[in-house]
Symmetry: none
Subunit: 202 residues, 4 copies
Amino acid sequence: MAREKGWKGKESRERLLAAAIDEFANQGFHKTKVSTIVTRAGLTQPAFYLYFSSKEAIFDEVVNDFHERLRMMMKTIRMEPGIETEDVPKRVLFAVETLFRFLAENPNLTRIGLFQTPEAKKIKEELAFMVVENLRAEQQAGYFHPDLSMEIVAECLVGIVERLTVSQLFSKKSNAESLAAQVVHLLMYGMFAHGSVLREKP
Amino acid sequence: MAREKGWKGKESRERLLAAAIDEFANQGFHKTKVSTIVTRAGLTQPAFYLYFSSKEAIFDEVVNDFHERLRMMMKTIRMEPGIETEDVPKRVLFAVETLFRFLAENPNLTRIGLFQTPEAKKIKEELAFMVVENLRAEQQAGYFHPDLSMEIVAECLVGIVERLTVSQLFSKKSNAESLAAQVVHLLMYGMFAHGSVLREKP
Amino acid sequence: MAREKGWKGKESRERLLAAAIDEFANQGFHKTKVSTIVTRAGLTQPAFYLYFSSKEAIFDEVVNDFHERLRMMMKTIRMEPGIETEDVPKRVLFAVETLFRFLAENPNLTRIGLFQTPEAKKIKEELAFMVVENLRAEQQAGYFHPDLSMEIVAECLVGIVERLTVSQLFSKKSNAESLAAQVVHLLMYGMFAHGSVLREKP
Amino acid sequence: MAREKGWKGKESRERLLAAAIDEFANQGFHKTKVSTIVTRAGLTQPAFYLYFSSKEAIFDEVVNDFHERLRMMMKTIRMEPGIETEDVPKRVLFAVETLFRFLAENPNLTRIGLFQTPEAKKIKEELAFMVVENLRAEQQAGYFHPDLSMEIVAECLVGIVERLTVSQLFSKKSNAESLAAQVVHLLMYGMFAHGSVLREKP
DNA sequence: AATGAATGAGGCTTCATTCAT
DNA sequence: CATGAATGAAGCCTCATTCAT
């Protein structure tokens, strides 16, 4: 047998999830009807409750899965303490780019997990907190301006990422690399014309 | 007559609006029930329909009023072309501060008009567009780094404002003035420690 | 004073009635709203209840007034017994024509009083009964075919009048005189071509 | 399985239709409540919307089905051109009788489809039109009086049928056969006593 | 003679969820 | 593993009618 036992059930579950993600992302939780999800999955309503205990349950599962994956990704971009000072911009750039890429690759999940669920609040705080941690060491090393509140900077970065994800990434006006470069440069050097290194970039 | 004719009706309408704004802001459109709104306004359900044609209608009115006021405020912070170069940071600071203050003073309306309604998309685009217009002249005057995309910078500013409004303003962790100063400094000079003017600020 | 006391009230009452008749006739009882009636009469809802105790009351008044007038008219077209045999067709023609004219002149009232209200049943029975009375004597005098049921004939006439009123009179495709002539001829002589007198008519 | 799949649903749908027809016919559209229909069908309100999209939808379905059947019946009573002249009365009699029988057998549907819905206008026009077509050939063959307007005659017949259906058929005062015979005789030969053939009928 | 403001009552419809098979 | 059929709960909205002035 090419397909083991339980395969069909898993298939159905996946189809339900896929349909639900699409609906939630584009219609929001309330406008999404269980009846639509099951129809799109080629099933009937009772079948839905074979796999999920409620409409809220499937929404939560989608959100939690996404947040889990996001947290994992966040671990990979956390800078170890003791990093070489001159490597900081590079590391920051890598982190931002990776984050952008992750969100761009999961637009529907991002819409749900970052813009619809109240849980988004928490994950954004975590994200901001990680950024703060990453930045604080450099600031204490005199690398960053001492009067800047790293908390505020971190929130700014989160806001920038949120906004650009929607306005540039989802609309494909720009890509993760380009965006990350510009954002990092902006945050590092500011808008003023003097002393920039942007010109030296490829 | 202590109060003119039509006063009572306007009062009721206002109470309905106030209740609706509070409910919409804190429960969202779908969880907000007309029955709750009218109860909070000390009325019965049919009275609601004396003043608004539907639940959607009152939501739209709230949103449109807010957007209208936001647009008016945006006009007042638009920089006239031909501004003195050395005044730019001051003007930008004023603009950002005014914007923050406006949002901080209308938290519920902001929640509705900036984070709940799909119409928010449009007004944010308008906001970003206004910022772009404001910045472009300075960039062409060599004031801002030529390789920076003002569109992206504008979107960043919008994202920053969105995020800080929620995380700092609504939670009263910070106020409009302080936030505006930090944001403008960050965007103007970046995070790096060299050549800052922040220290000279009051 | 050109207008005596109470004039204004009567005026309002008339306007309400006029509006109600038009609405009832064209929308039916249920689709007609008190709010529409008063608006068309240039009044407010409570004013309505100054003159009529309910929506049903005004409807009934309209119906009863019309039926009263219809009954009066029916009296005028009732044939006295002992009429000369050769005058019968003339008298029948007169009766039918008068009836058509009455209905044509009151299209809205007819729509209400003959086609909408359940009371129509009664008045139509009365109408049919009058016709029966009118015809029976002639039948007993051998004037009409003895095997024909005058009850049925009377009902036929009522049905014809109903239908032609709607299809010809209201649409102005034909007028009372022409219709009456054709109907009476048809009923008197039938459709067959032999022995008609229609040709001799003007 | 004693009954095939889908049987129960169809049963419920039929019960809903039956209840609806009865309510509509006797209470009219507006006084008929969905809640009554479902109660009579032994179901709850949401079940109604499993089978019909709205109260209006079920009404329309009832009307359309009836009109469809009526149209089919009308086809069967349409006289082919080239019919033998002496057969005309027989054919007309058959047609009228068939029509009466159809209406008598469907009193509730007739009440709805012929007296309640605005759509009745159309079907009556179609009926009149068919009658006109049937009569015109005979008139041109000299069979019917040349000065009679077949349009008017047709409308008369429609009116007669309408009226007798209500006053005789529904009340069971008379039956289709008897009514048809009298109506046809009346229209063919008129009320006058001379030259009738009614006496020769069984 | 009339109005601004409000309400009681009730109907239609939707949706997540479950029962029985 | 899945379905046909059904329901509980609840929300939106309408309309005739009335209160207080």
